[in-house]
Amino acid sequence: MTAPTDPPEHVEKNFSTKLLVDLVLDPREPGYEEAAKRRGGRPANHWFDKPLLTVGCLLAGFLLAVAYAHTHRSAPETAKVHSALVDRVRSAETRTDELARTEQHLTDEVNTIRNSALAGSGKLQQQLRTEQLQSGQTPVSGPGLRVTLTEPSTPNPSSGNGRAPETPTSAGNILSDRDVRSVVNQLWSDGAQAVAVNGIRLTPTSAIRFAGEAVLVDLQPITSPYVIEAIGDANQLDTGFAASAVASRYQTLKSAKGIGFTFGEESTLRFPATSTPATLRYATPGGTP
């Protein structure tokens, strides 16, 4: 046997130092030495040796296994909760889509029935159709203008310090709800008759706003590229928009910050009906000012 080196003599004086040196150089449980000394060098030989040893080893093994099982069970537990939540979100999304489809289907049905019921009264039907069109209740198609705003593809240099940004979508968020809104407003003022943003039809009660990192159009989140389409006199829309302050602002942003900004006339644009028909609770017809 190669015994560990004895601690130097002088440290004997300092108890706490000896403790540390012992700890590092000779970590043997002193109890074993003392027990051996008491026995006078003979190997231990009691009747309880084997049962004690068995119990001790059983305990130690049990403890190790329990710790292992415990550590590895708690991890899947969180994963289980997570996947259960993901499942619930997914099924809720599927259900929403399903309900939206059902609603669209029923609306079509109502329209068909109403049209056949009003077949005789031409003027009333005409008026209803116009109003439905204006309030975004029916799909619409026609010529118009398409404006596309895109976030710059390279993230802002300020957030590129080697670490991934906390929210990847926030990297270089130059465009916000204000930009989408100003384009929409410009298109309305240039004579647009129906407007859709990323395929979401705008209605008289539509709101374009910002929540967290996403632009919300009628509570539906959209991300870059923002495609704003307007149906109307394509020529008028095009010239009016090109000459507007909004367009020149985004031209500047395009060269300065590298956002994508294009617009052009389209011969045929198709918008769906709004998926969130307005329920007007307070506004009632009538009452001339």
Partner: protein, 110 residues
């Protein structure tokens, strides 16, 4: 021999029985594990040194676990729980290393 068999039986029992660790015991589990490892390595080393004693083994094992748990418990009450558990793990870890080194010297004469 008996010790190895008992250790394996203990591991298998722990894996098969899947006992639920009570929440109040959870913070002491890592400490108890390190203390158990220390006792096992110390026992193996003493066996190779020829001074093994079952009584010392069991008493040192249990008292190590209890004292380590007590230190962490006190630390928790006084607001230094994580620091003290680090201290316990460091001390026992050094001992495990030293014992493992002694066992290595015995087995490989190197």
């Amino acid at each position: 021999m008996i010790a190895a068999v008992a250790l394996i039986i203990g591991v298998v029992a722990g894996l098969l029985l899947h006992p639920t660790v009570p929440t109040w015991l959870e913070p002491y589990l890592p400490i108890a594990v390190v203390a158990a490892l220390d006792a096992v390595f110390g026992g193996v080393r003493a066996r190779l040194d020829g001074v093994f004693d079952a009584k010392v083994f069991v008493v040192s094992f249990i008292s190590n676990v209890l004292v380590a748990a007590l230190i962490v418990y006190l630390g928790d009450k006084l607001g230094v729980g994580s620091q003290l558990s680090t201290a316990v793990v460091v001390v026992l870890g050094i001992r495990i290393f030293g014992n493992a080194a002694a066992i290595r010297r015995h087995l490989f004469r190197a």
